[in-house]
C-alpha cells in the first residue's frame, strides 16, 4: 500500500483481546489506536480520522450500536464488529446502524487479518472497478446492464438485477435482510423476506458454479448476505 500506514482504531474493553487484535493490525502494517469505551472511542475517532474501526459490541459505558450511529453521522470509515455467536439481533442492529462486517467470537487471527485486508482494500477495489465487476466466470457491466457468464449472456429479471448490483457494489460487506428488502422491494415489505431468499437462490442457480456451495453470494445465517469477490 502506498502512502502513510493506515490508522486503525480498536474499541474493546478487554485488554488482552485488544492486544492480539492490535497485533494482527500491526502485521497488516496499520498504526493502531486503542479505546476501552464508547466515549473514548468517539473522541479518538474524531481526532485521528482512522481508516478502519474494530468495535466490540459489549462496552461498559454505552451500547456499541450507539457508537456506530454517532460515528456514521460524520464518517464513512469501515467498521468491523466483534460479537458472540448467539447474538444475531445485535449483529443486525449493528449492521443496520452502519457497520460493514462482523466477526463471531472466538475468532482466529488468520480470519481477522483476512477481514482487515479486505476492508482496507475495499475502497480501492471499488474505485478501480468502475462499472465493470468480475467474479468467478461472471462479468457484470453496470453501465450497460449486461451480465455474462463464461462469455455467454445471462438473462436476469429487473429485481434479480438490482439485487445483484446492490451486492456487487458492496463487496465483502454484510447486507442485512431488512436492508436488501428495503432497497430492492421497497420499504413495507420486511415481512416478505422469503422473496429475498428465493431470488438469491435463483441468482445462485444462474451465476454460481455449485449453487449448494455458493462461493460469491454467501449466506450469513440469520443476518443477511455477503458478496465475496
Amino acid at each position: 500500500m502506498n502512502g502513510p500506514a493506515p490508522i486503525a482504531l480498536v474499541v474493546e474493553d478487554e485488554p488482552q483481546i485488544r492486544r492480539f487484535v492490535c497485533g494482527a493490525l500491526a502485521e497488516e502494517s496499520c498504526r493502531t489506536r486503542e479505546a476501552g469505551s464508547v466515549a473514548q472511542g468517539l473522541a479518538l475517532a474524531a481526532r485521528e480520522h482512522p481508516q478502519l474501526v474494530i468495535l466490540d459490541l459489549g462496552l461498559p459505558d454505552r451500547d456499541g450500536v450507539a457508537f456506530i450511529r454517532e460515528l456514521r453521522s460524520w464518517s464513512a470509515v469501515p467498521v468491523l464488529v466483534l460479537s458472540a455467536r448467539t447474538a444475531e439481533p445485535d449483529k443486525i442492529a449493528a449492521l443496520d446502524a452502519g457497520a460493514d462486517d462482523y466477526l463471531t467470537k472466538p475468532f482466529g487471527v488468520g480470519e481477522l487479518r483476512a477481514r482487515i485486508r479486505a476492508m482496507l482494500r475495499r475502497q480501492q477495489t471499488l474505485a478501480d472497478a468502475g462499472a465493470l465487476h468480475r467474479f468467478g466466470d461472471v462479468e457484470l457491466d453496470l453501465s450497460r446492464h449486461v451480465i455474462t457468464r463464461a462469455g455467454a449472456e445471462v438473462h436476469l429479471t429487473p429485481q434479480e438485477y438490482s439485487l445483484l448490483a446492490l451486492l456487487v457494489t458492496n463487496p465483502g460487506r454484510v447486507l442485512t435482510q431488512g436492508f436488501l428488502m428495503d432497497k430492492v422491494w421497497g420499504p413495507g415489505h420486511r415481512e416478505d423476506n422469503h422473496y429475498l431468499r428465493v431470488y438469491m437462490g435463483r441468482l445462485r442457480q444462474k451465476l454460481e458454479a455449485d449453487p449448494t456451495r455458493p462461493r460469491h453470494l454467501v449466506t450469513e445465517t440469520g443476518v443477511g448476505y455477503r458478496f465475496q469477490p
Binding site: E27, G58, E88, K105, G108, P211, R213
Partner: protein
C-alpha cells in the same frame, strides 16, 4: 316452611285465623246491638264492612270471605226486621245484603291481594339481598375455601345441605372436603350426568330421603367447572321447586367465582414463568459473555503465536497451535452446553422464516469446512423441495452437528452424504457416512443428553450434539432418528412442509 311465606300473618294456623274472624264479627254484632236505637241501619252496615276490611287486611283472604258472609248473616239476624230471624220483611234489604256481600268479598280480595304482593316483594327483596351477600362474599374470595364457605352459608340459610364437586381432569369430579355426606353411586351418577350435559338434574320424588336430589352444573363461560349437589332438610318437593331459581343463580355465581380463581392462578403461573425465563436468559447471557471472553483471548493469543510472521521454533509453534485448538474445542463445548440450556427453556423462541433448505445447507457446509479437514460432502437436494418455515440459525446448528459427527466417526476416506427429499407432506433430510456404523444397542439412547455412541472414545465431545439436534428438530415439529444402512450410518430427520407463502413473479 320458613318465615318468608308467613310474613305479616299471625301465628296460630288457618283455624285460629278463621276463629278470630268469627270473633271479630260477633264482637261487631255485640257492639252494634246497643247502638241499634241511635244508629241508622246503613251505619251498622258500615261497621260490618269495616270489620270485613280489617279482617282482610290482617287475617288474609279465607277469614275475610268467611267474615263477609258472617257479617251479612249477623246483620240480617240481629238488625233487619223482623229481628232475631233470618226472614226479611222488606224486600229492599235483599239489595243491601247483596251489596254488602259484594263489597265485602271484593274488599277481601283486594286487600288480601295487596298483602300477598307486599309479602312477595319482601320475600324477593330478602332473596336478592341474600344473593347479593353471597355474590359479594364470592367476589372477594381469593381461595377456593372462601368460595365454598360462602356457598354453604347461603344454602344453609335456605335449609339446604350441599356437596361441591369440582372438575379434576377429564370426566372426573372431586368432592370438596366438608361436604354434607359421602355421595353414593346413584348420586355420583346424577352428578356426572349434570356435568356432562351441562343441565340441572333433579329427582323431586326423593326429597326428604336424606340424599342429594338436585344437581346443578357450574357453567362458567369457558367450561363446566363442576356440580353443586343439594340435599334439602325439608320434605316438600314444592319447596325445592320454589328455590330452583335461587339455586341456579347461586350455582352460576359459584361458577364465575371458580373461573376467576382459575384464571388468577393461570396469570400467577404465567408471571412466575416469565420471571423465571427472564432470570434464566440473563444468567445464560452473562455466563456466555464471561466464559467467552477469556476463550476469545486464549484463541487469539495462541493463534498470534502460531501464525505470527516471525518464525518460531517448531515445538513452540506446535504448542501454540494445540492451545488454540483446545481453546476452540472448549468453546464448542461451552456453546453446546449453553445452547442446550437455552433450548430447555420452557418456550424457546424460534425465529422462523420461510426459506429454501438450500440456503441453510449452503451456509452449514461453509461452517462445517473447519471440521471437514478437506473432506467433501455429496449434496443431493431434490429439485421440488418447498420453502420451509425454519429458524435458520438453529437449523444450521443441526446440520453442522450432524456433519461434524459424520466426519468424526468415520475414516478419513469414507464418503459423507447429505440428501433431502419430499415425502408425505414432510421433507426428509439424511446425513450419512459410509463405513462405520452405530453400535445397535446404543441407537435408542443416542439422542439423550451426555450419551455418546462409544463410551470412553478418544473422539472429543460430551454427547450433547445429538441432544441439541433433537431439541431443535422437535421445536420445529419434526422427528429425528438414527439408523444403520448397508453402506454405513445415517441420521435422518423430518421437517413439516406446510403451505408456504406465494412468491409472485415479476410482470
Amino acid at each position: 316452611m320458613n318465615s318468608t311465606t308467613l310474613d305479616k300473618i299471625p301465628a296460630g294456623g288457618p283455624f285460629g285465623r278463621h276463629a278470630t274472624a268469627i270473633a271479630a264479627c260477633a264482637l261487631t254484632a255485640a257492639v252494634s246491638a246497643p247502638l241499634h236505637a241511635v244508629l241508622d241501619l246503613a251505619n251498622i252496615v258500615m261497621l260490618f264492612l269495616l270489620t270485613v276490611f280489617l279482617v282482610a287486611a290482617f287475617l288474609g283472604r279465607g277469614p275475610a270471605i268467611l267474615a263477609a258472609f258472617l257479617a251479612v248473616g249477623l246483620f240480617d239476624f240481629f238488625f233487619v226486621p223482623p229481628q232475631l230471624s233470618f226472614a226479611v220483611a222488606d224486600a229492599q234489604y235483599l239489595v243491601t245484603f247483596a251489596v254488602m256481600l259484594a263489597v265485602g268479598l271484593v274488599t277481601a280480595h283486594l286487600v288480601a291481594r295487596l298483602a300477598d304482593q307486599t309479602r312477595e316483594a319482601r320475600a324477593r327483596e330478602r332473596e336478592t339481598r341474600q344473593l347479593y351477600d353471597v355474590a359479594r362474599a364470592m367476589a372477594g374470595a381469593h381461595t377456593l375455601e372462601r368460595v365454598v364457605e360462602a356457598l354453604r352459608h347461603y344454602l344453609q340459610g335456605r335449609e339446604l345441605d350441599s356437596n361441591l364437586l369440582l372438575a379434576a381432569g377429564d370426566d372426573v369430579l372431586a368432592d370438596q372436603p366438608g361436604g354434607h355426606h359421602a355421595l353414593g353411586t346413584l348420586e355420583s351418577g346424577f352428578a356426572r350426568s349434570a356435568f356432562q350435559r351441562g343441565v340441572v338434574v333433579e329427582t323431586d320424588s326423593m326429597v326428604g330421603s336424606g340424599i342429594a336430589v338436585a344437581f346443578l352444573p357450574l357453567c362458567a363461560p369457558s367450561c363446566v367447572r363442576g356440580v353443586l349437589a343439594v340435599t334439602p332438610r325439608f320434605i316438600d318437593p314444592q319447596d325445592l321447586r320454589e328455590q330452583r331459581g335461587a339455586l341456579e343463580a347461586v350455582a352460576s355465581l359459584t361458577a364465575l367465582a371458580l373461573e376467576r380463581l382459575h384464571f388468577e392462578q393461570v396469570a400467577r403461573h404465567a408471571e412466575l414463568r416469565i420471571a423465571e425465563e427472564r432470570l434464566r436468559t440473563s444468567v445464560l447471557s452473562s455466563l456466555s459473555h464471561d466464559l467467552r471472553t477469556p476463550l476469545t483471548t486464549l484463541v487469539g493469543l495462541a493463534d498470534t503465536l502460531a501464525q505470527g510472521d516471525r518464525p518460531l521454533p517448531p515445538s513452540v509453534a506446535e504448542t501454540a497451535g494445540v492451545i488454540r485448538d483446545q481453546a476452540q474445542a472448549m468453546h464448542r463445548l461451552l456453546s453446546d452446553l449453553l445452547d442446550m440450556a437455552r433450548l430447555q427453556g420452557t418456550d424457546t423462541a424460534l425465529r422462523r422464516e420461510w426459506q429454501p433448505l438450500e440456503d441453510v445447507v449452503g451456509a452449514s457446509l461453509r461452517q462445517a469446512e473447519g471440521s471437514a479437514a478437506g473432506r467433501q460432502v455429496d449434496v443431493a437436494l431434490a429439485a421440488d423441495l418447498p420453502l420451509l418455515h425454519l429458524d435458520a440459525v438453529l437449523m444450521e446448528r443441526v446440520f453442522c452437528n450432524l456433519l461434524d459427527n459424520a466426519f468424526k466417526y468415520s475414516t478419513a476416506d469414507a464418503g459423507v452424504m447429505l440428501t433431502a427429499v419430499r415425502a408425505d407432506g414432510e421433507v426428509l433430510v439424511s446425513v450419512c457416512n459410509e463405513g462405520s456404523r452405530f453400535p445397535p444397542d446404543r441407537i435408542p439412547a443416542m439422542f439423550d443428553m451426555f450419551v455418546r455412541g462409544r463410551e470412553e472414545s478418544s473422539i472429543p465431545g460430551v454427547g450433547l450434539g445429538l441432544a441439541i439436534c433433537k431439541a431443535i428438530v422437535a421445536a420445529h415439529d419434526g422427528r429425528i432418528w438414527a439408523e444403520n444402512t448397508e453402506r454405513g450410518a445415517c441420521v435422518r430427520f423430518t421437517l413439516p412442509a406446510s403451505t408456504p407463502p406465494v412468491v409472485e413473479e415479476e410482470s
